[in-house]
C-alpha cells in the first residue's frame, strides 16, 4: 500500500427496485495490488466491478479509475485497462483470432502478433481460426481472458476468470494471473468465488455480502483470521475476557462485534472454555470451532456465519 490508487470507489450505493445492489461500498486498489473480491452469488461483486469500470451507474458515491472519474468520459483508460465480464461475449461471425484482433484494433494496437500471443497465453492458440459462435462456455471465457490481456494493460478487472473451467484450464489461468501479477506487476481486481483458487494469489481480499463490503483483509490478516480458533458469543464480553485471561491463562483472543470473542486456541479446548465461562455465570449463546482454513474463513465471512472483524 502507499502507492496511489489505480481504482477506487467512495460510498457507492445502488438499488434496483427494492433490491440493494450496492450498499455504501468504499474500496481502493493501489498499484501492484492483487485484490480478490469474494462473495456468494448475488452479493454485488459484478455490480461493483461494473461500477468501477464505469459500465454501471451508481445512485450515490463516486468511482475513479486510473485517476479519472469512471464513466463514458473516461473511455481512454481502456487503453490501459483489461476487462473480463462475468459472461464473456464474442463477436459473432469472426474467428477467435479476428475477435481478439478486432479489440486490439479498437485499442489502437498495431503489433501483428499481439492477438496470437494472447491466445497462446491462455492456451487456446489451436482455436485461432475457429468461428467464435462454435466455442464452448469454457473457451468463451478463455477468449474473454485473451481479449482482456492482449493489449498489455496495467490494470486488469476480471469477473470470475476461472468460473466453470476444468482443472487444466483453471490451473493455466491461475498461473497466468500469478505471472501477470508478480512478474509483470499488473494490478488486478478479481471477483471470484472462494473455492476458485484465486484468493491464494491475492495480496488483499474483500468480502462482499448483500451489496456491502463486509470485510477487507491483507495477507497478514488472512493468515491471522485463518488460524484455527474458537468463536464464542457471550452475554458479558469484558467479564468473559477477564475469565479467559485469569482462569485459563489465555491471551491470544480478540473481542469482536456483537458479543463475539475469537480465541486462538486448538478446538480441543472448547469444553474447558465453556465450563470456565459458565462457572462464572456468563451466558454462552454460541460456541464454535473454526478449523482454520482460508477457504473456510472466507466462506464463513461471505455467508455471514463469521463476524467481519
Amino acid at each position: 500500500m502507499g502507492s496511489p490508487a489505480l481504482i477506487e470507489a467512495v460510498r457507492l450505493s445502488k438499488t434496483k427496485g427494492r433490491r440493494i445492489v450496492l450498499d455504501d461500498v468504499t474500496l481502493s486498489v493501489a498499484r501492484g495490488d492483487f485484490y480478490a473480491l469474494v462473495g456468494e452469488v448475488g452479493s454485488g461483486k459484478t455490480a461493483l466491478l461494473r461500477a468501477l469500470v464505469g459500465l454501471a451507474i451508481p445512485d450515490t458515491g463516486s468511482t475513479r479509475i486510473m485517476g479519472e472519474v469512471a464513466g463514458p468520459g473516461a473511455y481512454r483508460v481502456f487503453e490501459r485497462v483489461g476487462y473480463l465480464p462475468g459472461d464473456p461475449p464474442v463477436r459473432r461471425g469472426l474467428s477467435v483470432l479476428r475477435d481478439v484482433e478486432a479489440g486490439l484494433s479498437l485499442a489502437g494496437v498495431r503489433e501483428p502478433e499481439a492477438g496470437r500471443r494472447a491466445l497462446s497465453l491462455v492456451g487456446i492458440e489451436d482455436l485461432a481460426e475457429q468461428p467464435t459462435h462454435s466455442l464452448s462456455d469454457d473457451h468463451r471465457r478463455l477468449l474473454g481472458m485473451a481479449r482482456a490481456i492482449a493489449h498489455s494493460p496495467e490494470l486488469l478487472v476480471l469477473d470470475e476468470p476461472t468460473r466453470g473451467l476444468g482443472g487444466v484450464e483453471r490451473r493455466r489461468i491461475l498461473d497466468l494471473l500469478r505471472t501477470l501479477s508478480v512478474e509483470r506487476e499488473i494490478t488486478m481486481i478479481v471477483a471470484t468465488r472462494v473455492a476458485d483458487g484465486v484468493v491464494e494469489l491475492a495480496t488483499r481480499v474483500g468480502v462482499m455480502r448483500g451489496g456491502s463490503l463486509v470485510a477487507e483483509l491483507d495477507r497478514e490478516g488472512l493468515r491471522e483470521r485463518g488460524r484455527e480458533h474458537v468463536e464464542v458469543v457471550v452475554s458479558d464480553p469484558p467479564r468473559a475476557a477477564l475469565v479467559l485471561e485469569e482462569r485459563l491463562g489465555l491471551t491470544d483472543f480478540a473481542v469482536c462485534q456483537e458479543h463475539l470473542i475469537r480465541i486462538y486456541v486448538p478446538g480441543s479446548r472448547i469444553s474447558e472454555i465453556n465450563s470456565a465461562l459458565v462457572a462464572e455465570g456468563i451466558d454462552v449463546t454460541r460456541l464454535t470451532v473454526n478449523a482454520g482454513t482460508l477457504e473456510g474463513l472466507l466462506e464463513r465471512l461471505s455467508s455471514g456465519e463469521a463476524a467481519p472483524r
Binding site: 464474442v90 469472426l94 479476428r98 479489440g103
Partner: protein, 242 residues
C-alpha cells in the same frame, strides 16, 4: 477512431444474414412491384377485381417503397440493437472509443448501406421495366430513382430514432416495432396534409410524382439531428449494473 469503428462494424455485418435479407426485400420489392404493375396494366383491372390481396389501384410505390423502408428499419435495428441481444454491450462500452464515435460510425455504415440498397433496388426496377413495361402510366426510371432516393433520405433521416429505441429498450425488436408502427401511422394518415410532410411519407409522395415540401425536408433534418443527439445520450447512459 471512426474509421476503425467502421471497419469493425462492417466486419461484424459481413457474415450476418441481415444485409442479405435487406437486399432481398429491396430488390425483391422492386421486382414484385413491377410484376404487379404489369398485371394491373397489361391484364386489366376488371379481371383483377376478384383477386384477393391485390387492390385494383395497386401501384409500384405501394410495394417497393414500404418494403425498402422496412429493409432499412431492419438494418438499423440490427446494427444498434444486436449488442444487447448478443450480450456484447460490454465489449463496445469497454473499448477505448468515445460512445459518440460509436453512434456516428454506425450511422455512417447504415447510411452507406441504405444508399447501396437503394441503388440495387433502383437497378432492379430499371431492369424489370425494360422487360415488363407495358403502359405509359408505369413510373419511369426518373420517378423510381426519385422514390429510391426519397426512401434512402427518409430512412437516413429517421434511423437515429430507431437507433435510439434499440439502445433505450435494449434490443432489435422494440426498435423494429417502433419503426413499423410509425410507418403504418404515416401511411394510414398520409392523406392529411401535415402528415405528408413527415419523413416516413416522403418516399411515397415522391414515388407518386409529388415533391418534397420545405417543411418535409426541415422535419427530416430536425428528426435526424434530434434522433442522433438522443441516441448518443442513450448510449452514454446505458447502465449495465449486472
Amino acid at each position: 477512431m471512426i474509421a476503425r469503428l467502421i471497419t469493425a462494424e462492417v466486419a461484424g455485418l459481413r457474415r450476418s444474414f441481415v444485409p442479405w435479407l435487406a437486399m432481398l426485400l429491396v430488390v425483391g420489392g422492386s421486382v414484385v412491384a413491377r410484376i404487379l404493375a404489369w398485371i394491373t396494366h397489361a391484364i386489366g383491372r376488371t379481371e383483377l377485381g376478384a383477386l384477393p390481396f391485390v387492390p385494383t389501384d395497386m401501384g409500384w410505390s405501394d410495394v417497393a417503397v414500404p418494403l425498402a423502408l422496412l429493409a432499412y428499419l431492419i438494418v438499423t435495428s440490427y446494427v444498434f440493437g444486436r449488442d444487447f441481444e448478443d450480450g456484447n454491450t460490454d465489449l463496445i462500452l469497454s473499448a477505448p472509443v468515445r460512445r459518440e464515435a460509436v453512434v456516428v460510425a454506425r450511422t455512417i455504415v447504415i447510411a452507406i448501406g441504405v444508399v447501396v440498397l437503394s441503388l440495387a433496388g433502383w437497378g432492379a426496377d430499371v431492369a424489370m421495366r425494360a422487360v415488363l413495361a407495358t403502359s405509359p402510366l408505369d413510373p419511369g426510371p426518373a420517378i423510381s430513382a426519385t422514390a429510391a432516393l426519397g426512401s434512402a433520405i427518409a430512412a437516413i433521416a429517421t434511423l437515429p430514432l430507431v437507433a435510439w429505441a434499440a439502445i433505450r429498450f435494449r434490443g432489435v425488436l422494440p426498435a423494429l416495432g417502433l419503426g413499423i408502427a410509425i410507418q403504418i401511422v404515416a401511411l394510414v394518415f398520409g392523406g392529411f396534409a401535415l402528415v405528408r410532410s413527415l419523413p416516413w411519407f416522403l418516399p411515397t409522395a415522391l414515388a407518386r410524382g409529388g415533391s418534397a415540401s420545405l417543411l418535409g425536408v426541415g422535419l427530416s433534418a430536425l428528426l435526424f439531428a434530434g434522433g442522433l443527439a438522443a441516441t448518443v445520450r442513450a448510449l452514454r447512459s446505458v447502465d449495465l449494473y449486472e
